[in-house]
C-alpha cells in the first residue's frame, strides 16, 4: 500500500481500515504472538459467575419459548412421519410370529440339524407342534402363521390351514375310551374342581401367568382379566401338562369366548395331556398319595391309560398331510424361528435364506434388483429431462419483465391446479396408439397407420408423464436461485470480453448450479418413490419399485417385505443425499 498511500495527501500517515486488516491477518498467522492483555481462565460476568453459564441461563428461556412454538409441528411430524418410518424399519426385520405361535416347536427344533432329504425332525418336535398348533388353531392364529411362512416356502399356508382343522381329531380313540370308562371326564364341573384342587386349595398363579403371556403373544390381545380360575398347586405339580393345557383353555374361554370356565367342557387337548401325564410312571406313583378332588377318578384313568398305545405324533401328522415329512418345510420353520430375521431384506434383494446362509435366488425368480435398477435409472432420466426442459423456462422466468414472468409462472404452476390423476390420464389419451399424437403423426404421414408408435404402458410413457408432472418441482427452485443472480454478473463478464455463450457458461451457469441441485434432489427423490403415474401409464416395463411395494401392502399383504423394500429405498435416498453432499455440498443447495 505504501506507494499510493504516500502519494495521497490526507491519508499519508493515518491508519486505514486496510492496515488494521493486515495487522489482524498477521496476528492470525502467528497465533503465538501476544494479543494484548487478555487474562487467562474463564471470563466472568458482573456477578462473578462464569460468563458461559450466565449466557446459557439467559438463553434457556429463549430456547424454551422457541421449543414451545415448534411443538405442534414437532408432535405432528413425530406422529405422522417419524413413527411410521420407525414402524416400517421395525416391521422389515420383525418376525416374532413364528416363535409366538409355535414356541415349543421352535424350542424342540433348536437342536435339530437337517442332513439330507429324509432327516425329519425328532418325535418331540411333532409332539410340540401338536401342542402349539392345537392352541393356535383354537385361537385361529395358525392361518396367519401359514401366510407368513408361505412367503418363504410356498405350500405352507395350505398345510397349516388344513392341519389346523384336524388337530381336534388327534387321539380321538383315547378320549373316547376315557370318557366311556367314566362319564365324569365329560363333565365341565368335575374338570373344574379337579383342576382348581377344590375349595381353599393353594393356587399356582405362576403357571396361570405363564399361560397368560403365551396367549398374549399368540393373539396380541390382553389376558390380564380375572378369569375366576386358578390351577391348584398340588394338581399342577401332579399333572403339569394337563394343568398347563387347562389353564390355557380357561384363559381362552373367559377372555375370547366370554364364557365361564366351570361351565365349559375342556378341549380335547386337555384330555390328551391328561392321558399323557398319567402314562408317566412317576405320576402314577405320586398319584397314590394324592387325595384332592377326583383322586379316585384319576387313579382309575391312570390304570386305563397304562393300556393306551403311545401316540405316534409324527405318523399322525404325516397322515394329516404328508408334507409334514418334507424337511424343507421344517427347515423353513426353524430358519424363521428367531424373533428377528434378515429374510425380508434378503428377499428384497433377490436372495433367500438357505441352511448354508444367504444365497441368490434363481435367475427367473429375481425381480427386485431389476426393479430397483429400473427405478433408479428412470428417475435419473426423468431428472435429466426435467433439467433440460426446466432450465430455459426458469431462466426466462428470472429474466423476463415482471408481468410476462407472472403469466409464465402461472403456466408453470397450472399443472398443480389439476388433479394428478387427470393429468396422468390425459397422457394416456395423448400417447396411446389410437391417441392424439399417433393420430397426428399418421395424418401428417410421418408414421404408417399399421405401425403406430407404442408410447404408453412402457418406460417411455412413464418418463414422459412423470417429467411433465415433476417439472414444476425443478423449475421453482431453479427460478428462485436464478432470481438472486444479479444481471450485473453477466454484464461484467461481457464487458470483460466474454461472448454471450462464455458469459453464460462460465459465469451464469455455475451460479445457477445450486438451483439445479435443489431441483434435482427434489425431483429425483419424488420420482424414486412415485406410484400413481407409473401404475397408470407404466404397463409392465415402466413400473417402479413403489408399485411393487404397494402391491405387497394391499394385495399380497406381505408387509414385512414391503417394509424391507421401503427401507432399502429410504437407504438409497439417504446414501444418494450423502453422496450429493460430499460431491456438491448441501449448502450449495438453495431453495430460494
Amino acid at each position: 500500500m505504501s506507494k499510493l498511500k504516500s502519494s495521497g495527501q490526507q491519508t499519508a500517515d493515518a491508519p486505514t481500515p486496510e492496515d488494521a486488516f493486515h495487522e489482524a491477518a498477521a496476528l492470525e498467522d502467528h497465533p503465538s504472538a501476544p494479543r494484548g492483555s487478555k487474562a487467562d481462565g474463564p471470563v466472568l460476568s458482573a456477578d462473578g459467575t462464569p460468563l458461559k453459564r450466565s449466557l446459557n441461563r439467559a438463553l434457556r428461556m429463549q430456547k424454551l419459548r422457541a421449543l414451545m412454538l415448534i411443538a405442534p409441528l414437532l408432535i405432528f411430524v413425530l406422529v405422522t412421519f417419524i413413527a411410521p418410518i420407525a414402524d416400517m424399519l421395525f416391521r422389515s426385520v420383525e418376525n416374532q410370529i413364528v416363535s409366538n405361535t409355535l414356541p415349543r416347536t421352535t424350542q424342540a427344533l433348536a437342536g435339530w440339524e437337517a442332513e439330507g432329504a429324509d432327516s425329519a425332525p425328532p418325535e418331540a418336535a411333532y409332539e410340540a407342534l401338536y401342542v402349539d398348533l392345537f392352541l393356535a388353531a383354537e385361537a385361529k392364529e395358525h392361518t396367519r402363521l401359514g401366510t407368513r411362512l408361505n412367503y418363504e416356502e410356498t405350500g405352507l399356508s395350505s398345510l397349516f390351514r388344513s392341519s389346523g382343522r384336524d388337530m381336534d381329531d388327534i387321539g380321538e380313540d383315547r378320549i373316547d375310551a376315557l370318557e366311556d370308562a367314566n362319564e365324569a371326564w365329560e363333565e365341565e364341573g368335575f374338570w373344574y374342581t379337579l383342576m382348581t384342587g377344590g375349595e381353599g386349595a393353594a393356587g399356582n398363579t405362576a403357571l396361570l401367568d405363564e399361560q397368560r403371556d403365551r396367549l398374549e403373544a399368540l393373539t396380541g390381545d390382553s389376558y390380564a382379566a380375572d378369569i375366576g380360575f386358578v390351577p391348584g398347586q398340588a394338581i399342577s405339580e401332579l399333572l403339569p401338562r394337563t394343568a398347563r393345557a387347562y389353564a390355557a383353555f380357561a384363559l381362552y374361554t373367559v377372555v375370547e369366548d366370554e364364557d365361564i370356565v366351570a361351565e365349559e367342557e375342556p378341549w380335547e387337548r386337555v384330555k390328551i395331556a391328561l392321558t399323557q401325564d398319567l402314562r408317566d410312571p412317576a405320576t402314577v406313583q405320586a398319584l397314590a398319595d394324592y387325595d384332592g378332588p377326583g383322586a379316585e377318578e384319576l387313579r382309575a384313568a391312570a390304570d386305563l391309560s397304562g393300556g393306551f398305545e403311545e401316540i405316534d405324533f409324527k405318523q399322525t401328522f404325516l397322515e394329516i398331510d404328508e408334507d409334514w415329512g418334507n424337511v424343507d418345510n421344517w427347515q423353513t420353520i426353524k430358519m424363521y424361528s428367531p424373533p428377528f430375521t434378515s429374510g425380508y431384506f434378503l428377499n428384497a434383494v433377490d436372495m433367500e435364506k438357505t441352511p448354508d446362509g444367504p444365497a441368490l435366488r434363481d435367475e427367473d425368480e429375481r425381480i427386485y434388483g431389476l426393479l430397483f435398477n429400473r427405478t433408479l435409472f428412470m428417475s435419473l432420466v426423468i431428472t435429466g429431462c426435467c433439467i433440460m426442459l426446466g432450465y430455459p423456462v426458469a431462466w426466462l422466468l428470472a429474466n423476463l419483465p415482471m408481468r410476462t414472468a407472472n403469466i409464465l409462472m402461472i403456466l408453470v404452476l397450472l399443472p398443480f391446479w389439476t388433479s394428478l390423476l387427470v393429468r396422468t390420464s390425459a397422457w394416456k389419451v395423448m400417447l396411446q396408439q389410437q391417441g392424439v399424437i399417433n393420430d397426428t403423426l399418421v395424418w401428417l404421414g410421418l408414421v404408417d397407420d399399421a405401425s403406430r408408435l407404442i408410447m404408453i404402458n412402457n418406460q417411455f410413457g412413464t418418463i414422459v408423464a412423470m417429467t411433465h408432472i415433476l417439472l414444476p418441482f425443478m423449475i421453482l427452485p431453479m427460478y428462485s436461485v436464478m432470481q438472486t443472480i444479479p444481471p450485473s454478473y453477466v454484464r461484467a463478464a461481457r464487458s470483460l470480453g466474454a461472448t454471450n455463450w462464455t458469459s453464460f457458461w462460465r459465469v451464469y451457469f455455475p451460479q445457477s448450479v445450486p438451483g439445479i441441485g435443489a431441483g434435482s434432489i427434489l425431483v429425483f427423490i419424488l420420482s424414486i418413490g412415485y406410484y400413481i403415474t407409473p401404475e397408470i401409464v407404466g404397463g409392465t416395463t415402466g413400473t417402479f419399485i413403489s408399485n411393487r411395494i404397494a402391491y405387497h401392502i394391499s394385495s399380497s399383504l406381505n408387509w414385512g417385505l414391503a417394509a424391507a423394500l421401503g427401507s432399502i429405498l429410504l437407504a438409497v435416498v439417504l446414501i444418494l443425499y450423502w453422496a450429493y453432499d460430499k460431491i456438491v455440498g448441501i449448502d450449495n443447495v438453495k431453495l430460494g
Binding site: 500500500m1 506507494k3 499510493l4 498511500k5 502519494s7 495521497g8 495527501q9 490526507q10 491519508t11 493515518a14 486505514t16 481500515p17 486496510e18 486488516f21 444479479p486 450485473s488 454478473y489 454484464r491 461484467a492 463478464a493 461481457r494 464487458s495 470483460l496 470480453g497 466474454a498 461472448t499 454471450n500 462464455t502 458469459s503 462460465r506 459465469v507 455455475p510 451460479q511
Partner: protein, 367 residues
Amino acid sequence: MADTDNNDAFVAFERVQKSYDGETLVVKDLNLSMPKGEFLTMLGPSGSGKTTCLMMLAGFETATHGEIRLNGRPINNIPPHKRGIGMVFQNYALFPHMTVAENLSFPLEVRKIGKSDREEKIRRALDMVQMGDFSGRRPAQLSGGQAQRIALARALVFEPELVLMDEPLGALDKQLREHMQFEITNLAHELGITVVYVTHDQTEALTMSDRVAVFDDGRIQQLAAPDTLYESPDNSFVAQFIGENNTLAGTVKEIEGDRCIVELDDGELIDAQPVNVEKPGDRTLISIRPERVETNVERLGENAHTLKAQVAEFIYMGDVFRTRLKVAGKEDFIIKTRNSADQRRLQPGENIEIGWLPQDCRALDAV
C-alpha cells in the same frame, strides 16, 4: 452548454436519446465529447440517467436516437464484449464462484492470452492495487475495500483504454472512500486511461475529476472543470447541487454587459453578474456562496454591496463558524467564516452588516 462535437474526441455522444418505455425520455439530447486520458465524472441526483448513459456506452443498452463514437468509430452496433471497455460495477460484480486470481484471469482467458502471460498480467494488476497476497481468496472473503480493489484490477487487467465506473465507492465508509478516491485517480493518471466515473457524491466528483458533467432530468446541466463548476455555476440547479449556496429571489431591473441590477422581493436593489437572465423584468435567483459573504464590510472596498442582516443562529464547527442570518426577509441565509484569531463570534439577535463583491453574486434563472 454541452461540448461542441469534436471528431477526434476519444468518446463522443452526439444527440443521444434514450427511452425505456417509449413514453418518457430518460436521456434527452446528450452531447458530450472526451479527449483521451480524461477523467470525467457524471454527477447528478438519483434517476437523472447517469447509469443509463454508462450502459449505453458499455453496450448494455442501445440508444434510441443519436450516435455514440469511440475512437472515432460509431459503436452503436458493436456488441459489449467487442468494445474493449473496462467496467467497475457498483456492487463490484466479482464472480463469487471464482477466486480473485480466476476473476482476473477471466478477461485474459476469453482473449486467449497464454498462461504465462496471463499470470504475469494478473500479478502486475494485483500489485498495482496492493492485493498481491489475496489471489487465492474468494470474493466473499474480502472486505468491501478489498473487493473494490479487485474489481478495479479486473477492469484494468486487460489494459482497456476506457474504463467505466458506476458508483464504485458507494458501499464504502467515508474514510475508505476517500482513500480509494486517491488510489483510483492516481492509477488513472499513471496508466493514462480514460475514465468515465458515475457518482452522486459531489465531493467525490470535485476531488477526482478533470471535468464534471452535472446531470439532471436526462440532460447535462453543466460540463466543466470542478473549480469552474463551483465558482461559476451556469444555472441555479448546478449552483444548488454543487456545494452550499444562498439564494435570494428577485427581478432584474437593468442589464448592462456583465453587470445587472436586481430588485429583491423586499425592494432592496443589489448588483449582480448576469449569467442566464436576458432582459429586465425576468425573475431571477441570486446565488452567493456562504464563504464569499463578508461580515467585516470594510475589508471589501469600494464597490462591494452591503446589506443589513440579523443573526438567527450561530453554529461552531471547529475550523469554521456557520452562522444563519435573516436577510431580506429570508431566514436561511448561511454564511461561513474562518475561525481565525480576529473573527468575532456573532451573537443571535445581533444586527450586523454583511457584504460581498458583485462578481461573487450571480443572477441565475429562477426555477
